[in-house]
Symmetry: C2
Subunit: 334 residues, 2 copies
């Protein structure tokens, strides 16, 4: 591996000039610049990253704090972040917290230890205001989920609006007995989707039957979705439509409904949320809200890069459009 000094000798200039050609080409005379480029080419020189990072006091590593890569929803976001980081010369350090807040803090300590220049946090709880302490010192972007009243860069869809839209759609199909399966987790998306559900019923002056709100577990497990659905199916007055807060739960709902020998969408309609890959892996294909996960990822990195370049105060809160995708689990009652 050749060094900057080798290049300098080859091009008959000082190392400073070579460095300038690399970092500020416009300030060196064209003639010299070309000579240096030639030398770089000839020696196939690549700057030593560690030396550069040492001098510039940066790591070129972005920390990604995720509950679980294995979840396809997060995986797509990660792909977006990763590709974007790649092209900007950053490597991604993926830290799996498995949902534990203590692990989240441990992850963020990497910032203190200068092992990473900034972080993207994928699933922070609604009440994790402590994140602000980190965000006031280090570049941090929140993706999809965020604590309620903190002033930190973030990117997400408009969960309230999306859920409200789903309700309007279900309502427009003629349904009036609409149930919701929420989750016991502490995400703002969960809160907002449930709130939209309740608000919609209020505005349409539909009685909001407490029993129509069931809860799946905090990781949206298939099994808990199934159980919650079973409770709904055992009600005296079964709902005619179920709005599930996530696709896996909706899949559980579908399984439960089928096992109860009811037909979808004939007897009961189901709507999911997220549009993960397997919603079209078997019939009935799921009607759901599609989240632009890859884009959530790329935008997250863009915002983080903003913080890097324009300072920690250049906060941006970005809302990305969602899309309601109607497939086979919903049908008009008329």
């Amino acid at each position: 591996m050749s060094t900057i000094e080798d290049v300098a000798k080859e091009a008959n200039v000082s190392v400073a000039t070579v460095s300038r050609v690399i970092n500020n080409p416009e300030i060196v005379k064209e003639e010299t610049r070309l000579r240096v480029y030639e030398a770089i080419e000839k020696l196939s020189y690549e700057p030593n990253i560690s030396a550069r990072n040492l001098r510039k006091n940066e790591t070129r590593v972005v920390l990604i704090v995720t509950p679980n890569i294995t979840n396809p929803y997060y995986a797509h976001i990660l792909a977006g972040i990763g590709d974007m980081a790649q092209t900007h010369g950053y490597s991604a350090l993926i830290y799996n917290t498995y949902g534990k807040e203590s692990e989240q803090k441990k992850a963020l300590d990497m910032l203190k230890k200068k092992r990473s220049d900034g972080a993207i946090i994928l699933a922070s709880n609604m009440d994790s205001n402590w994140i602000e302490d980190y965000a006031s010192e280090y570049p941090i972007v929140l993706c999809s989920e965020y604590p309620m009243d903190v002033d930190i860069s973030r990117v997400s869809i408009d969960n309230y609006d999306a859920a409200y839209n789903v309700m309007q759609y279900i309502y427009s199909l003629g349904h009036r007995k609409i149930a919701m399966i929420s989750s016991t987790n502490n995400y703002i998306s969960t809160y907002l989707r449930l709130k939209a559900y309740q608000d919609f019923l209020n505005i349409e002056t539909i009685e909001c039957n407490e029993e129509y709100i069931q809860y799946a577990d905090e990781v949206y497990s298939f099994k808990s979705g199934k159980e919650a659905t079973l409770k709904l199916l055992n009600l005296k007055e079964k709902p005619s439509a179920i709005f599930c807060i996530s696709d896996t739960i909706a899949l559980g709902a579908i399984a439960a409904i089928k096992e109860s020998n009811l037909d979808i969408p004939q007897d009961i309609c189901v709507v999911g949320f997220d549009d993960v890959d397997y919603t079209t892996m078997f019939h009935p294909y799921l009607t759901t809200v599609s989240q632009p996960c890859y884009k959530l990822g790329t935008e997250s990195f863009r915002l983080l890069n903003n913080l890097f370049k324009n300072g920690i105060k250049s906060i941006e809160k970005r809302i990305i459009p969602y899309e309601l995708i109607v497939r086979e689990t919903t049908k008009s009652l008329f």
Copy 2:
């Protein structure tokens, strides 16, 4: 952030001694060692990674070359690698190749450019012997897939054995008309599983009907699995069991069979491969071969770490046990 010099002053020793305490504690006198530890604690000193890397000429980055994080099979492996890398002080640079060999090479050039200390390659083709050129110069581990005759560290399951086992199992259920859906990709796993299928039929002197071997596309898409299955169902003599080379293909098969108004496992049995999450997300639950993906990941890192520590020649080829998991898509004919 305090530096090694601050610590040295605080402990009244030279920087060299502090460095020794950190990297070779046993060679410094206990008394001094403790004093240094105290100073480190007091100043909450953390060594500067870039400086260390510069001096030691390493990057502490491992490159992970994967076709697609988004695939749950790879995602679990990644989780394993990531967690392991984490604990060994490495960060993971994930490079998505989207299946292109040219991208694979671009990824591996990161080794040449000294942007990473070694690489784990997740899905190399059977004929990618060029990888040996890299592996002879840099630490490289192949995970799951590998070129046929190269001498490179790798970890995988015994695909031939697993597939043979599946065939024995299907045979033991009484099936004689057994079809296989393979793939047009160029992985050794594909080759070995198909070979096991053929060998088994030969040994049992069952005629190997050419039409019973169909091919799904190279990324095991659901859709192509469905299409391949349709071809099998249109045969004069339908198979009574279908061995699919991957779970998504098996899901496609299930969809196709159901749409043809046939029952699983009553009319046709289906076996998958990999045991990805969604095989139990709806009925019938898939009978399949479970691969220990997370472990494949952790072992891959272990082998890579071996190469780091014991040199590029300390090659190991590790086979990890698989497991045949019988669920609802298979049933005895008797």
